[in-house]
């Protein structure tokens, strides 16, 4: 690992000041599960590393306020998985978070870091897209809120500008009853990077939202407003046609080690059907309760 100077701001203001003073060769350290590898392998050679974990405003990392939960930049995957409200209202996010790496990784890796890292295979991106998460960004000009769909740009790229820090994710419990589920494909049952990630949500108006990743430069959100996917009795051909449209932009890399483009495309359909099926089931449960 190349030498760098280590900064550990204790407030958000201080962090913004440190960033402004550090120029462009700066890296943000939250969980570090990607950054430390990149620095050891010298893919990234920052002159300054800013550790976010002592910023007072980030604690507690997970706060519910009415129907909105705010997850700060230090909220780990384990905290997401363990939160009762998230499991109740955003079960697909819990399902995605619980398959990110091993226990040790999840204890360290942060939800926001998973998004800021910009991996097309990020497990939590599809559910966050489906749930319309908002990314809260702080910078010299103050705070701005960005829809997750606009925040995610491409491999390794986000909408963050120099001098800015993503400080939180906000999720609001949908006003309409919603069922949702997350699915992924891997090479083994144990810890693995996914070759396909997919989240589906069905609401009681018959609108189905499908987000999927690992099959192109970024995870995408697509919406079926025809009601076909939400309808358990829709003919198979009709459903296939809708999926065809939803997955039209999938462009899995031929270079990937993890799975072939053909397999990934086929699995999108399989996982799509499974996730939508489970989402419908959950919607029925939600309705049953309410």
């Amino acid at each position: 690992m190349k030498e760098f100077s280590y900064e550990r701001p204790e407030s958000l203001d201080e962090a913004i000041r440190v960033l402004a003073a550090s120029g462009s060769d700066v890296e943000i350290l939250a969980g570090g599960t990607d950054l430390v590898i990149a620095m050891r392998d010298r893919y990234r050679e920052p002159t300054v590393v800013v550790d976010l974990k002592r910023i007072a405003e980030f604690y507690p990392s997970l706060v519910w306020d009415g129907d909105t939960v705010t997850l700060s930049a230090t909220a780990t995957m384990t905290e997401v998985v363990d939160d009762e409200g998230i499991n109740r209202h955003f079960p697909a996010l819990a399902e995605a978070a619980v398959v990110v790496g091993s226990v040790q990784i999840r204890n360290r890796a942060t939800l926001l870091g998973n998004i800021c890292n910009g991996s097309p295979a990020a497990d939590t991106a599809p559910p966050l897209l489906v749930y319309d998460a908002i990314v809260v960004v702080a910078g010299p000009a103050g705070i701005r809120r960005v829809a997750i769909d606009d925040f995610i740009v491409g491999p390794g790229r986000t909408n963050l500008q120099d001098g800015e820090i993503a400080i939180a994710l906000e999720l609001t419990v949908p006003s309409r009853p919603l069922g949702s589920a997350y699915e992924r494909m891997t090479r083994r049952r144990g810890t693995d990077l996914a070759s396909v990630t997919l989240c589906a949500a069905v609401d009681d108006a018959g609108i189905t939202r499908v987000a999927f990743g690992s099959v192109g430069p970024r995870a995408w959100l697509r919406v079926d407003e025809t009601g076909v996917l939400a309808d358990p009795d829709a003919p198979a051909e009709a459903r296939a046609a809708v999926f065809e449209g939803i997955f039209a932009d999938a462009s899995p890399s031929v270079k990937s080690l993890r799975a072939s483009p053909d397999y990934r495309r086929a699995m999108l359909r399989v996982l799509g059907a499974r996730a939508v099926g489970r989402a419908r089931g959950r919607l029925a449960e939600v309705r049953g309760v309410s």
Partner: protein
Amino acid sequence: MSETIHIETTINGRDRAFEVAANLTLLDVLRDQLGLTGSKECCVVGECGACTVIMDGIPMNSCLMLAVEIDGRDVITVEGLATDGHLNALQQAFLDLSAPQCGFCIPGQLMSAHALLQRNSDPTIDDVNEALGGNLCRCAGYLQITEAVMVAAKAGKE
């Protein structure tokens, strides 16, 4: 040499204060600076778990942490499990069930298992397999390891 930073930490119950270089991982510092070689280096990408330590009760891969990040924290390594030379129940179960073969992955397995049992004293076998899912073993095929964790959990209850 990189910037060095003064840190104060508790390692295996002992308060310690020392300087660390910013660009060293916790694993590097444990092994090379503190002589705590029980934590092992294998994949250094957080896949094998041989370097697992427990910080503030939570198991983590020490290869993916900067050493400076333990400033003000409480760290337990495999060397901290036994008390005055007496094996704890988990170590004893590992020994009794012949869980270690070559032994290289065992410190990490023990740390993951110890953290699990601290949090859940009555785990199912699925809980154990999940908790140890980030600790690769190439010798044992896992069964004697997970069995040992179950035996230790039972011993803890009695």
